[in-house]
Each structure stands twice: as C-alpha cells, then as structure tokens.
C-alpha cells in the first residue's frame, strides 16, 4: 500500500480507535496515541517527497504527494504533534472526555498532513474542512463557550472555507482541472478580473486560519480556551496551514503585475501585527497574551512572504518554523503553570521561578527567541526580514515591524515577570515542578530554539529547497547549509556571527546560572501589605502591586486605537441579521388559509409573468 494512504489510514483509523479504546481500556489510551503519533512520524519521515499517488473520485482527478515546501510544514506538524501528544498525556490527566479529545486531536493532525500532501484543490479543501471541525470540537472542549467564541471560530472558518470553495469551483470552471500544477500553469490565461477574485477568495480562506486582520476575531479566545496541549499545535502548526496557503497563493496564483495584492497583504499583516501586539501588552491573562502574540507573529511571517523577495520569503518561512517552535513551548509552559497552579492570571501568580525552574528556563529561551534578541533564532529571522524590507524599499513596513517588535518586548517581559519573577507568595509554596512528560517536550523545543540561533542553517536548508519548489531560485552563495554559521545579506558579504553568537550564549548562560543561584539564596520575603502608607488609609481599590495594571501608562496611550474592536462590528452585524431573519419568519403566520392564499397568488403571478417572461 502506498505510504501516503497508510499514513492517513493510520491517523484517522487510529483516532477512531483511540476513541473506542478510551471507552473500554482507558489505561492504554495515552500509550496508544503517543505510539501512534510516533509511528506516523516515522512513516512521514520515511515517505519522502518523490512519492505521488494519482486517483479519481467521482470523475475528479486527484493527486497526493509531498513537495519540499509542504514537507517543511509537514515536519512542523509531526514534530509538534508528537511532542504535544506526549505533553498531553500528563496535562490532560484526570480530565473527562479524553477519548473525544484525543480523537479530534489526531483527526486534526491527520487533516493537516492531508492538506500538505494534497496536490489538488479538492483534497486540499476536503482535509481543510476536517481540520476545521475537528479543531472546533477541541476549542469548545472546555465548555466555557459563554459568549459563543467557539461558534465564532466555526463561523469564520466556514466563511473562509467557503470562499476557498468558491474560488476552487471557479478555477475549475475555467481550467477544467483541480490539480495544483494545472492550476498554476494556466491561471494567468484566464481573465484578470477572475484571476484577482480567485486570489482574494483563496486568501480570505487562508487568512482566517492564519488569523489575519480583519478575520482574526475568533483567534484570541479560540487559542486561549482550548486545552494548552492543543493550543501548542493550534497556534504552532494549524495556523501555519494558513501561512502555507498564503505561500501557495502569493507565489503561484498572483501574477507579478498585480503587485498591489502583495502590497495590500503585507500592509494588512503589518497592521495585524501591530494591533495584536498592543492587545497582547494589555492582557493580564498569560494564555490570552500568548494568543494575541501568536496573531502578531503570524503577521511578520506574512509580511515576509508578501515582500516577494528571496530574503523576505526566506525570513517569513524561517520565522514560521521558529514561531511553531517557540510559541508552542510558551503555550506548553503556560499550560504547565496552569496545571500546577490552577490559574494563568498574571495578576495572581508570581515568583514561580524557584518552584518551576525548568519551566522557567523553557519560557526564558522561548521569550528570547520571540523577542528577536540575539543569540537565538528570532534575531536571525528578524534581521533577514528587516533587510529584505529595506532592500526592497518598504520603509514604512519596516517602521510597522519595528514598532510591533519593540512593543513585543513589553509583553515578553510581562510574561516572564508576571509568572516567574517577583516575590514568591506563600500560597504558591506548595507548587511543584511540572511532570517529566510535560517538561521533556518543552525542553526539546527550547533546544531547537537555541540551535536555531547558533546554527540557523539546519532550518534554512529545508527552507531553501522549499523555496525552490515555490519557484524561487537562490541567488545566494550556496555552501553546505548545515554548516552555515554566517548570516548573509543580498549584497553577498558575510558577517561572521558564529563566534559572537556562541560567546553571547556562553556569557548569558553563566549569568543566568549565577543570578538564579544567587537569587535563590538571598531572597527575602516582603508581603504586599508591608508598604509604608505615610499615614494614609489604604483603600482596597488602591493598587499596591505591580502585578495589576502592569502597563497602565502604555495602555492609556494606545487605548484610543483599541477602543472600538472590529469584533463589535461583527457582533452588531450578526444581531442585525438575526432580527432580519426573525422578520422573515413571520411569513409562516400559522393560518392555513394564508398558506392557501399564497398558493393562489403564486399561481396567478406565474400565469401573468409566464406569458411575459417565459415565452408562452
């Protein structure tokens, strides 16, 4: 049997089996899902990219197989999927409906692999929808869908998916084939109006999943409401499906004459990243903070892709991989805190550094990667992005990216400080470090983050071949990518960074160890009440701690920008529609005689109009 089919059968069959297994032998469930995922990962890595499978369904020709681009995203999916499942076994312990949870988890991973292996639009859509509903079922898993955020996710996904479907059937009506290669080959032969419409419709579909403004409103809640073990995959891998789709559209379906589309996409992405960063800064819940941060980061990625320069695309893809790594680590770390402490509200928790040191290490490394500081990969990616934007003359975009990544420092610090630093409250004295099966995935991912800074080549090499499959030919000196220890720019001169980077890492680690050990010894506990009030009576509403309103001045400064959320417009629109629908309902007023009158009236109308319009 073809290994592609085997892969999908294992995934989907295994998902169903996990559900059944949970009913009868719950003890074996965790082992089963992890082993299944590892098996699938093995199969995935052994499949390779030359494997092609052709078949017909209902007279529609379909083709499956990985390209080097989809293979790159596939690696993200299987690695994150495996690690998140290992993490889940501890994180989800003791919760109910685990069969349901794992079934949908595996469904969505299988669907992502299906999307990536689709070489035709119908299978792409097919798996896209499976991914949508399975992830929806996990978003509403916790049941707190009070203001219908889960439903909002589904509505937006449906709108996105159906715009995709519309584009797909229109493309087919022109080209007569759903195969990607045929579509790419003949897309520019059809009228330019349809061409642009198709690209826009497809991008609406992919924009929803990658949470691009103004289609992002589902994302903050969906990311923060799902169990963190799934959010790691959701934000890390699932949203990358949108990025993958953007790459397909921007590189293959938008002709170079339509530079405006690229420009608009880049600007939307830039606005997304700035606004989402601002929202992230004012969040006090760690999960929501990370959710907004995810939206912002995907903004950078899409800016990179839309810049349509070699370096920019490379930066975008590099950031995509890196974002998958560090953001899922962060979600896992927050999940670990949530599990051990019971809350992720940063106004409540503080000083967990001594209780959960390993979680802290993982968080710290990922935060550094996120903020784009040297020596980690985030810096590499940001540098490439800046350089690509500057050399291609997008100076205003540079300002936007700069603004957003500077503001990102604020929330990066907030999450570190809010959860781990600060003084330890006595109520957290009993908190223990997260179990090993949660720590290991986090630390593995942190390791990858570190490696991405010192040896970005091991990520850039697959990106290089992925870009070749998108049609970008390298104009850069190509040596052995694995040994790449230099960063480069389009002028071709090399900056030797490896020594700088490694020495920074060394110094940093020593300093970290020093501060940690030192801080561990010499710490004195001060209660928050122990503050001189200079004779004034402290009112309960007086803010006596840093934890609350952490960035009050900043918040005040940006508030006018954020006051009226796009979300509110959608809600109003929805309410208006519901009122309209209620009005339509009155047609069926319950009186049978009216129904008969409708019939007579309709017949009379037809007889009158029929003579006129239907040629009788």
């Amino acid at each position: 049997m073809n290994s592609l089919i085997l892969l999908l059968i294992l995934m989907f069959g295994g998902a169903l089996f996990a559900f059944i297994l949970n009913k009868f032998v719950p003890a074996l469930r965790d082992i089963f899902v992890v082993l299944l995922m590892l098996g699938v990962s093995y199969l995935f890595f052994s499949t390779g990219i030359s494997n092609r499978l052709n078949f017909d369904v209902l007279g529609i020709h379909m083709q499956w197989g990985f390209t080097s681009a989809s293979y790159l995203f596939g690696i993200i999916v299987v690695v994150l999927g495996s690690l998140a499942l290992i993490y889940s076994t501890a994180y989800m312990k003791g919760k109910d409906r685990l069969g349901y949870f794992y079934m949908n988890f595996l469904f969505s991973i299988g669907a992502m692999l299906g999307i990536l292996m689709s070489r035709d639009l119908i299978s792409l859509f097919f798996f896209w929808e499976i991914m949508t509903w399975s992830s929806y079922f996990i978003v509403i898993y916790s049941g707190n869908d009070v203001d219908r955020r889960g439903l909002k996710y589904m509505i937006f996904s449906a709108i996105g998916a159906y715009s995709m479907l519309m584009a797909i059937v229109i493309v087919n009506s022109f080209i007569g084939s759903f195969l990607l290669e045929d579509v790419f080959a003949s897309i520019f032969a059809i009228g330019s109006g349809y061409q642009i419409a198709i690209a826009i419709l497809l991008m609406i579909g992919f924009g929803v999943k990658s949470a691009m403004m103004p289609l992002h409103v589902w994302a903050p809640r969906a990311y923060s409401e799902s169990p963190m073990s799934y959010t790691a995959v959701f934000s890390g891998a699932l949203s990358k499906m949108g990025v993958f789709g953007f790459a397909l559209v921007l590189f293959n379906l938008v002709s170079t004459q339509n530079w405006l589309i690229n420009e608009v996409v880049a600007w939307l992405a830039a606005i997304t990243s700035v606004l989402a960063t601002f929202y992230a800064v004012i969040q006090s819940d760690a999960k929501k903070l990370l959710a907004y941060s995810s939206i912002a980061q995907i903004g950078y990625i899409i800016i990179g892709l839309a810049s349509n320069t070699y370096l920019g695309v490379m930066a975008g893809l590099f950031l995509a991989v890196l974002h998958a790594v560090f953001k899922s680590t962060l979600f896992m770390a927050v999940g670990a805190v949530e599990r051990q402490v019971g809350t992720t509200d940063m106004t409540k928790i503080s000083g967990l550094i001594r209780r959960m040191p390993w979680t802290f290490v993982a968080t710290l490394i990922s935060i550094i990667a996120l903020a784009g500081l040297p020596p980690l990969g985030g810096f590499v990616g940001k540098w490439m992005l800046y350089e690509a934007l500057i050399t291609s003359g997008h100076y205003y975009l540079v300002i936007m990216v700069f603004l957003s990544s500077t503001a990102a420092f604020l929330y990066s610090y907030r999450i570190l400080f809010g959860m781990f630093l600060g003084q330890e409250e006595p109520e957290f004295a009993h908190v223990k470090e997260a179990p090993l099966s949660m720590l290991i995935p986090m630390l593995i991912l942190s390791g990858i983050s570190v490696l991405s800074g010192s040896h970005p080549g091991f990520i850039l090499e697959p990106i290089q071949s992925a870009m070749a499959s998108f049609g970008f030919q390298s104009n850069l000196p190509h040596e052995s990518w694995w040994e790449l220890t230099v960063l480069f720019n389009t002028w071709g001169d090399k900056v030797a960074l490896v020594n700088v980077l490694t020495s920074i890492v060394g110094v940093f680690l020593i300093a970290l160890a020093f501060i940690t050990i030192k801080g561990y010894k010499n710490q004195r506990y001060v209660t928050t009440k122990d503050i001189s009030s200079s004779g004034e009576i402290i009112q309960p509403e007086d803010n006596m701690t840093f934890q609350i309103d952490f960035y009050k001045p900043f918040e005040r400064a940006i508030w006018p920008l954020l006051k009226r959320k796009i979300d509110d417009y959608y809600t109003d629109f929805g309410k208006g529609l519901e009122a309209l629908f209620d009005f339509v309902r009155r047609f069926y007023n319950g009186n049978g005689q009216f129904y008969a009158i409708y019939v007579m009236a309709f017949l009379a109308l037809l007889l009158i109009a029929g003579t006129k319009y239907f040629g009788f």
């Binding site: 069926y588 007023n589 319950g590 009186n591 049978g592 005689q593 008969a596």
Partner: protein, 121 residues
Amino acid sequence: MMNEFLMISFYGTAIALILIGLYATLAKKNLLKIVIGLSIADSGLNLLFMAIGYVKDGTAPIFSAEVVGKNVVMVDPVPQALVLTAIVIGFAVTAVALSLVMRLYRHHNTAAIDEIKNLKW
C-alpha cells in the same frame, strides 16, 4: 344550436362551481365551509373533465358497434373513467378533512381557522 348551448352551460357551470369553491376555501373562516368549498371546487373540476370528454351527439361508450350501428359516435370513455376515480378520491379527502375538523373543534372549541394557530413561525 342546442348542443352549443349545452356545451356552454356545461363549461360555464363547471367553471362557476370551481370559482365558488375556491372563493369559499380562501375567504370563509369556518373550517366546515372551507371543506365544503374544496368539495365544490372538486365537483366543478369533475364536471369540466366530463365536458371535455363530451362528443356531439355521442351516446354512452358502453355499446358496441353491433348494438347501435357503425355510424353512431360515442363520447370519450377515458374522462368518465377518470372522473369516477377522482370522485372516489375526493370523497376520501373530504372524509379525512371532516374528521380533522371534528378533532380541531373538540380541541380548540372553535371552528374559525384564524384562531387555530398553535403552530407558526
């Protein structure tokens, strides 16, 4: 002359019956009157069908040529057969309708159709 008059009165009566029936069905509020209206409209339709099948100077289509001679025309037998069926069907529908009217009257204590609106929207 006589026959044309007959035909016109046939068609005229049939159409008049149909219109009366439809009027009763659509305008009267009483359930029973509505059912009566349906029944009248049905009769009108049957009559119309008969009129269409009528052939000038035709006799009943049950005699064979040996009895009445070769040159005698017969009316079209098909509409008559069909009207028989339609009458039976109309009878069945009326029976069901009347039983429903009884049920409704017992349940709602009224026979006015615009007061029986538990199911709507």
